[in-house]
């Protein structure tokens, strides 16, 4: 049993298993990854090696080719140098000992030499390094470099092949084959000349270097040599134009293959080339020269095929790892199932063993729980421990209503014991001392403690047990009292506390055995877990209950608050209504006061009369004017106040106006005071539409009338002023005639040549001229004469003629065709003569002004429907529509600067209205204007 105890806790087993499987997974994954990695490295290494071999092979090949070519050149040169016949001929040639035809032969020979080998030039120098023969005869040859080489070969007296160099002038790249011409056979004989042959490397050595035996995107060969602290590139580069003998690297850039080659390194290396690109290169020196060959290819090109393979490998590894994970997952789930199955079997075994122990040893098992709802908890625990309560016993009560233990589920237990430990009796009284000892972990005596932390006393009747128990405070051990000999108490520990205890008591000493105790100790964690869960549930329930309670409480409070609020709202509404009413009354009072103040502020006399002319209400101006109080005024008729009469005066609007008609305004002259009032009446109507008297507003316009009169007069004087000059000049004509007549008569009289007939004629003329003057002056006077606006019957035709005459005196009609279009019958109107004359004059003068005293002036007068229409039409430019409304405005003039005052038409308009008439204008631009004065016929 012991060995199996480990598996009791399913969770621990599960955890261990998970860890194990995870480790296996990690190991497998790591294995797969490592294998993949190493495999990849291996492939990569192979590729690298293979490329290295290729590069080395190519480099070897090229170096061999270059060497062979050089050897050939030098061999050929050596043959020339050692050819005795040739040497003697050339020596003769250089010393000028050769006939002309032989000389030509020498030239011919050099030419064929150049042509046959494809050399670019051949130059023969004498011992003083002067050029003897040069083929082909290019201008500019020899250059200083050629001379230098000739000098050197004569000094060294041996054949050599120069390095690559740039010519001075063209900048082209060449190398020279230098051959000494010795005086005698080779040995110590001095050189008597030199043959220098120019070789163009583009034809020979560069193609050798630049060719690549297989297709490649980046591969190339470099020929380099050291030049001081730099590496000089001797050939044109694949990725850089015009680099031959121009491009160089500093020597300190060790990662460059070219630098490494110059430093003497051979074989394969990886580095960075002149473009800064990662390359693989093979380095080789070229024997017999200071040159080094670098064959290189971009690392990228080398490893491109590898990349595809690496993707494949990665994918394979991922698939393998996933497969591993899946396999392990399956194993895991199998194992878990197995663990749970074994756990279940374990529990069954426990129950069996427990029951067996209890029944065999006649032991008692009891459980104490430090929890709130013990009954429910006990039921669950018993189900857990013993499996006695099955699904069919849900709701089964361990204790009956009377608190008695129900026998049924506790076969094999002592009912007495259970009863005693029943929670219905309050606190359990069994072994409380030990229980507390254990719960508090006070020193319970090490000899009684098991390795599992439980208390086990094998014989309660033994001396040691008795003395121990006697020393423990609290309730005496009840087990002993009931005749139990052996006792074990197993704590049920949760994380925070000892939540309960399991008690196993036996009637036999030595029982319960250590094994039984261990069995219970194994059960204790399960119970602890159950307790914790149960308590959490309990706590939740408590919280829920508390919450429920709080909600109910809150609901009640809310209801109360709602009632309160409703009452307050009703109260507030009532108060607001009262306030509103108060406010309304205040506004009413204010507006009444405001109205009264407004009423009183008006200086016109305002009164409200009833239909019987009795004053009902009057404003302050009215009261002040008549010296009455507001109360007194209501005892008066309006006519008593205004006219001091006993009845309404004639012309009062209130008399003439029907009570329900429209408002009326009229000027009324008060005969007593001599004041002029503008009286306006407005009918008042009651709600039912009946007449309710009227509002009477009287404005004293006496001052205003005087003002207007003055204005009219001033306009008249202004017109006169304008006229005066014209008229004065007009009088000069008759005066001139009269003067001349007088002078002529006087002269004749003086000379004694009186002629009675002439005298009569002259005097007749003088009289006529005087009358002419008189007409003019009387016309002027009649115009200026002021009248008080008294109306009288007037002859319209006569008035028009007089007006035209007055204008004529100014000489303004001389270029004007005047058309008189009058009705035959005489027309009469009732109007003030001065006023009407002024109106007509204004219209005629305006017409003449508009025409600039040229054109046709048509004055027509006709009578229709009891009205007399007098029209004045001109042929001027007309009045623009926009101005037609404004020309009757005061001070509006289009003649400012030409004597216009802006008074003429407005005053004419006013005079016409005062005489019951009106003036209107019709005009279209360019068609002249027609002003029409309409007056009621007399």
């Amino acid at each position: 049993l012991k060995s199996e105890l480990h598996l009791v806790n399913g969770k621990t087993g599960q955890r261990r298993q998970n860890l194990f499987l995870f480790l296996v997974f990690l190991l497998l994954s790591a294995g797969i990854s490592l294998t993949g990695y190493f495999y990849f490295r291996k492939i990569e290494e192979n590729q690298r090696r293979e490329t290295g071999h290729t590069l080395t092979a190519i480099a070897d090949l090229k170096v061999a080719q270059i060497t062979a070519w050089r050897r050939e050149r030098l061999g050929d040169a050596q043959v020339v140098a050692e050819n005795r016949l040739l040497r003697e001929d050339l020596a003769a040639c250089l010393q000028g000992r050769l006939s002309a035809s032989r000389q030509d032969d020498a030239v011919q020979w050099m030419r064929s030499l150049s042509r046959a080998y494809g050399y670019s030039a051949a130059m023969l120098f004498d011992s003083n390094v002067r050029p003897a023969i040069i083929v082909p005869g290019q201008p500019g040859l020899p250059e200083s470099t050629d001379i230098e080489i000739a000098r050197r070969v004569m000094r060294e007296r041996r054949v050599f092949l120069s390095d690559l160099y740039q010519t001075d002038r063209a900048g082209q790249i060449h190398m020279d084959l230098a051959i000494p011409i010795l005086a005698t056979a080779p040995g110590d004989s001095p050189a008597i000349g030199a043959l220098v042959i120019r070789i163009d490397p583009q034809n020979f050595i560069y193609p050798l270097i630049q060719g690549w035996p297989e297709p490649s995107a980046s591969a190339e060969s470099l020929l380099v040599r050291r030049d001081g602290d730099t590496v000089l590139f001797l050939n044109d580069l694949r990725h850089r134009k015009d680099s031959a003998l121009r491009f160089r690297h500093p020597m300190n850039q060790a990662q460059r293959p070219a630098v490494q080659a110059v430093l003497g390194r051979t074989g394969i290396m990886e580095g960075i080339d002149y473009r800064g690109v990662q390359v693989m290169a093979a380095l080789q020196p070229v024997p017999g020269t200071p040159w080094f060959l670098v064959c290189k290819v971009d690392a990228e090109e080398v490893f491109v095929p590898l990349r595809e393979r690496s993707f494949l490998l990665l994918a394979l590894a991922v698939v393998l790892v996933l497969a591993c994970g899946a396999g392990l997952g399956i194993v895991n789930s199998r194992q878990t199932t197995l663990i749970y199955r074994r756990q279940e079997e374990q529990m069954a075994e426990y129950r069996r063993r427990l029951e067996q122990t209890i029944s065999e040893t006649n032991a008692l098992l009891k459980l104490f729980v430090h929890a709130a709802s013990r009954e429910e908890y006990l039921r669950q625990s018993l189900e857990l421990i013993g499996g006695w309560v099955g699904a069919e016993s849900v709701g089964f009560r361990v204790f009956d209503a009377a608190g008695q233990v129900r026998e049924e589920p506790f076969r094999g237990f002592d009912p007495e014991f259970w009863r005693l430990s029943s929670p219905h009796r309050g606190r359990a009284d069994c072994c409380s001392c030990l229980q507390e000892l254990l719960a508090g972990y006070k020193n319970a005596g090490s000899r009684w403690l098991t390795s599992g932390g439980s208390l086990r006393i094998d014989d309660l009747e033994s001396e040691t047990a008795r003395s121990f128990l006697g020393g423990v405070p609290g309730t005496p051990c009840s087990c002993r009292e009931y005749g139990y000999r052996g006792l074990a108490i197993v704590p049920i520990r949760t994380q925070e506390r000892v939540a309960g205890t399991l008690h196993l008591a036996s009637r036999e000493a030595g029982e319960p055995t250590a094994e039984s105790v261990q069995l219970l100790e194994n059960l204790a964690p399960i119970l602890a877990e159950a307790i914790v869960r149960f308590e959490i549930g309990e706590e939740l329930q408590q919280h829920r209950d508390h919450l429920e309670e709080m909600i109910q409480l809150r609901t009640r409070e809310l209801a109360t608050a709602n009632d309160q609020l409703r009452r307050e709202i009703v109260e507030r509404e009532r108060m607001e209504k009262e306030l509103l009413e108060l406010e309304r009354l205040r506004i009413l009072a204010d507006s009444r006061k405001e109205w009264q103040e407004t009423f009183d502020a008006i200086t016109d006399l305002i009164s409200i009369h009833d239909t019987d002319f009795v004053v009902r209400k009057a404003n302050r101006a009215f009261l002040d004017h008549f010296g009455l109080s507001a109360e007194d005024v209501t005892r008066h008729h309006c006519y008593e106040l205004f006219h001091e009469g006993a009845c309404p005066v004639e012309g009062c609007p209130q008399c003439t106006q029907p009570a329900a008609a429209n408002p009326v305004s009229r000027e009324v002259a008060d005969p007593k005071t001599g004041r002029v009032f503008l009286v306006s009446t407005y009918p008042l109507r009651r709600a039912q539409g009946e007449p309710g008297g009227l509002i009477h507003i009287a404005r004293d316009v006496t001052g205003q009338k005087d003002q207007e009169m003055k204005m009219i007069l001033s306009e008249r004087l202004a017109s006169l002023g304008q006229m005066a000059a014209g008229i004065a000049h007009e009088i000069n004509n008759p005066l001139a005639t009269i003067g001349t007549c007088a002078e002529g008569l006087l002269r004749r009289l003086t000379e004694g040549r009186e002629d009675p007939a002439l005298l009569r004629d002259y005097l007749g003329i003088i009289e006529e001229e005087v009358r002419r003057c008189q007409t003019i002056t009387s016309g002027m006077l009649s115009f200026v004469r002021q009248d008080r606006g008294n109306r009288a019957p007037l002859d319209v035709h006569e008035l028009i003629d007089k007006t035209l005459a007055l204008v004529g005196y100014q000489g303004r009609l001389r270029d004007v065709e005047v058309v008189r279009d009058f009705d035959d019958a005489p027309l009469r109107v009732r109007a003030s003569e001065g006023g009407l004359r002024q109106v007509l004059l204004t219209l005629v003068v305006n017409a003449l002004d508009a025409m600039e005293d040229r054109g046709t002036l048509t004055v027509s007068a006709a009578s229709t429907d009891g009205k007399v229409r007098i029209s004045v039409r001109d042929t001027g430019p007309g009045v623009a529509p926009a101005l037609q409304n404004r020309i009757f405005d005061l001070f509006f003039t289009t003649k400012s600067g030409r004597g216009g005052t802006g008074l003429g038409l407005p005053i004419a308009h006013k005079i016409a209205r005062e005489n019951g008439g009106e003036i209107s204008v019709t005009s279209s631009p360019g068609q002249g204007a027609t002003f029409t004065l309409i007056l009621p016929a007399n």
């Binding site: 000069n732 004509n733 005066l735 001139a736 003067g739 001349t740 002529g744 002269r747 003329i765």
Partner: protein, 118 residues
């Protein structure tokens, strides 16, 4: 002296013509500018007397036309009611002198003597 008198005022024209003829001048009277110009075309004159303000053709305009026909003929203008501008224009048109009506006959004679001799 043969004089053309252009004057629209009938009485003054007659009296002046009469008085000048009394001084042994030959005087033709035209009653406005148009008639005056027509008369001047018709006959030869040694002096033109003319009013400035006249209907149909003003004295200024008539004088301009007359001087375009005969720039050398002297002219004396007079007016009862001409403005300063009209007077200036008339002088510019070639009048020797502008007299303001009413003027003394002796003054006219004086001016005539000065201007015809000059």
């Amino acid at each position: 002296m043969h004089i053309l008198l252009i004057e629209d005022d009938k009485n003054f024209g007659l009296i002046l013509k009469n008085e000048l003829e009394a001084e042994a001048h030959r005087v033709d009277l035209a009653c406005d500018g148009v008639e005056g110009v027509l008369q001047f075309i018709h006959d030869h004159y040694e002096l033109v007397l003319l009013d400035i303000r006249m209907p149909r053709l003003t004295g200024t305009d008539a004088l301009r036309i007359i001087h375009s026909l005969d720039p050398d003929v002297p002219a004396i203008a007079f007016s009862g009611n001409a403005g300063e501008r009209e007077i200036q224009e008339t002088l510019a048109a070639g009048a020797k002198k502008c007299l303001q009506k009413p003027f003394a006959l002796s003054r006219l004679k004086n001016e005539m003597e000065i201007n015809i001799q000059g």
